[in-house]
């Protein structure tokens, strides 16, 4: 079996190498990948959406439909893991001793995690909010927020963090994150534009001095917040399910 797979992969490698002769040279500004669509985005992104970061403006505005379904994929993955691993233990509830009496918690680890976790959360909120002007955006901020909860769960105990962030709340809030994204798009439908066409929000927000161009920028911020909420809760729920085998008792 190993010999057959080795032969097959080497054959595939040889085929891919013969295709490499036709490629444009690397780093060429006039290669076909860089010509037709992306120069429209580079030239018109700043004046149409008032966002200097091209990647964020393409992700949340020009190709916002893909991002909405990507958020739905993350949500469905969290639901799938929950469905696969959870067993209902309504009959016996495990008794876990409350926090001051646990001997297996290390003092250095818990103190360090308690100091680092708020810094991580503030930095994550900065990444979400500043995604228009610097590398960042909704996904990165949401993952860092989820990672701060994972850090607390690793250093203290899974039960301690689950006492503050119940899994039922986590699932409902992640669904609300997807609903915020779709809701902003549906609001554009109600106001008379296309789906996910954020410029028409200026009809409602025009009292605050919002032009159609800056309405697109604010719409992008709204959908990034929805994405961050979903990603945060799903990352923590994935960790909680996988590291405890569905039992939600001890964790790692």
């Amino acid at each position: 079996m190993k010999l057959v797979s080795l032969l097959v992969t080497l054959l595939l490698g040889a085929l891919l190498l013969t295709a490499a002769a036709d490629f444009p040279s690397w780093g060429d500004p006039h290669s076909p990948a860089s010509l037709h669509v992306s120069d429209y985005y580079i030239e018109n992104s700043l004046e149409q959406t008032a966002v200097p970061n091209f990647v964020t403006s393409i992700l949340a505005d020009y190709r916002g439909y893909d991002t909405m379904f990507e958020t739905t994929v993350i949500f469905c993955a969290g639901l799938t893991v929950l469905t696969l691993l959870r067993r209902s233990h309504r009959k016996e509830k495990k008794v876990v001793t409350p926090r001051p009496n646990r001997e297996d918690q290390d003092l250095i680890l818990t103190s360090a995690a308690r100091m680092i976790a708020p810094m991580m959360q503030i930095f994550a909120l900065y990444v979400v909010a500043h995604g228009h002007h610097s590398p960042g955006g909704g996904f990165q901020g949401g993952v860092i927020l989820g990672a701060s909860f994972i850090l607390l769960a690793l250093s203290y105990d899974l039960q301690t963090v689950l006492g503050r962030l119940k899994e039922r709340v986590a699932l409902i809030m992640s669904g609300i994150g997807v609903a915020i994204y779709a809701g902003i798009g549906a609001g554009c439908l109600l106001l008379g534009g296309n789906f996910l066409d954020y410029g028409v929000w200026s009809k409602v927000l025009g009292v605050f001095g919002v032009t159609p161009v800056t309405a697109r920028s604010h719409g992008m911020l709204g959908v990034e917040i929805g994405v961050a909420i979903t990603v945060m809760y799903i990352m923590f729920s994935l960790y909680a399910d996988l590291s405890s085998g569905g039992e939600m008792d001890e964790g790692l």
Partner: protein, 87 residues
């Protein structure tokens, strides 16, 4: 606009062999926890490679997702199944 902070072939020739070594090592070790940690190192080296190609958003996401969450998921699974692989 001609800043050219970009591609240094010396940097590439340091990082790309390390990526390949980490990938082969993550698949060769018998202990699954060691595989998970070396996979985290592989993710970090890929993040460096993409920063050097000026893909800053992709590198940011890979650093948060690959080296953060993905390694912890592997570790969490490896402690619930048999830790020692047979090949």
């Amino acid at each position: 606009m001609n800043l050219d902070p970009g591609l240094l072939w010396q940097f590439d020739f340091l990082i790309i062999p390390m990526v390949i070594i980490c990938a082969v090592a993550a698949l060769t070790f018998r202990d699954l926890i060691t595989s998970a940690v070396v996979f985290g190192a592989y993710s970090f080296f890929m993040c460096l490679l993409w920063t050097e190609m000026l893909a800053v958003d992709v590198a940011f996401t890979e650093a948060a997702v690959g080296a953060g969450v993905s390694t912890v998921l592997f570790l969490g699974t490896a402690l619930h199944i048999k830790r020692r692989a047979k090949d």
